[in-house]
């Protein structure tokens, strides 16, 4: 296979890494839940949970949806949505 065919040959996702990401996502979910239930997510709890949430979404996009190895434009649009939505929701939350 020639060099120009490389993207077609490389495995876009490693299963071992996907399992590691899954563990991180499960732990982050449990932590957010604990934070929301035990502490009512008041004060900085809300923005913290929102930040963890959009971090999780970026991980899902990058590793599960294979955007890490996708066309850069696709990855940028996805990451852009994460950042913009996170920022608007956080500003809205802090403003109320």
């Amino acid at each position: 296979m020639s060099a120009s065919n490389e993207p077609a040959a490389a495995a876009p996702v490693s299963v071992r890494r996907a399992v590691a990401v899954w563990v991180v996502l499960m732990v982050a979910t449990a932590l957010s839940w604990w934070l929301g239930v035990a502490h009512g997510a008041g004060g900085l709890g809300g923005p913290l949970i929102l930040t963890v949430t959009f971090g999780k979404i970026f991980l899902v996009g990058d590793h599960f949806m294979e955007l890490r190895s996708a066309a850069r434009a696709l990855r940028l649009v996805f990451a852009g949505w994460c950042v913009v939505t996170w920022a608007i929701l956080t500003v809205q939350y802090l403003g109320t």
């Binding site: 996907a18 839940w33 929301g36 997510a41 190895s69 939505t85």
Partner: protein
Amino acid sequence: VTDRAVGGRDRATGGPSSDPDADRLLDLLATPWVGPVPPGGHPAARGPRLLRGRVPGEVGIWIFVLGDMLIFGVFFVVYLAYRAAAPELFELSRRTLSSTFGVVNTLLLLTGSLFVVQAVHAMRRRSEAVAARLFLLAMATGIVFIVDKVFEYRDEIAAGHTPMTNEFYTFYFMFTGLHLIHLCIALVFLVIALRVVRRPATTARSARDMRTVESAASFWHLVDLLWIVLFPLLYLVGAR
């Protein structure tokens, strides 16, 4: 310029237009990750840097996925705006929800996502039997999610909470209901993927098959990621 169809193809002739970047993009979009490499190399390795690379699944699925993310993004903003107008009502109503249902459902979808990732990987390795089993496991997580949701709705309605009770419950039932419809569509996608995987493989798995499976996987992950936002937004994030 007015004769030009979307994407750079010449409308009159159907042939390549004078815009090489647009043609390269079309080539890229039309060429899958696996399968025979067209002469001149895979388009994923050519073209402008930003567009170089692959698209997991059909381009149409990605237009839907990104459009849906945008629409739900607007929903989230509208929800917080309404909440800002009646923080006490929203906070009191939020506290009546069972976050246990919410967190269990989040863990279920995340686990389903891992199965889907592993299934796509198994498919690439040509381990069709493994891929089929993993798709069935992913579907099981989705079905348990739906059963959970039925019990959750039953509890809410038994407690006298309906979409008409107040604005919070209107949002709650509307968002979770829309998400449930998405999940049902994702399950149909997984059934299609399962049929593709179970189809007796001839000499080579066609690129089209792989793309169908990747499209189904991308849609499943969309349903997962929407729930990842809905859960904290509706169940966890309290009044400041």
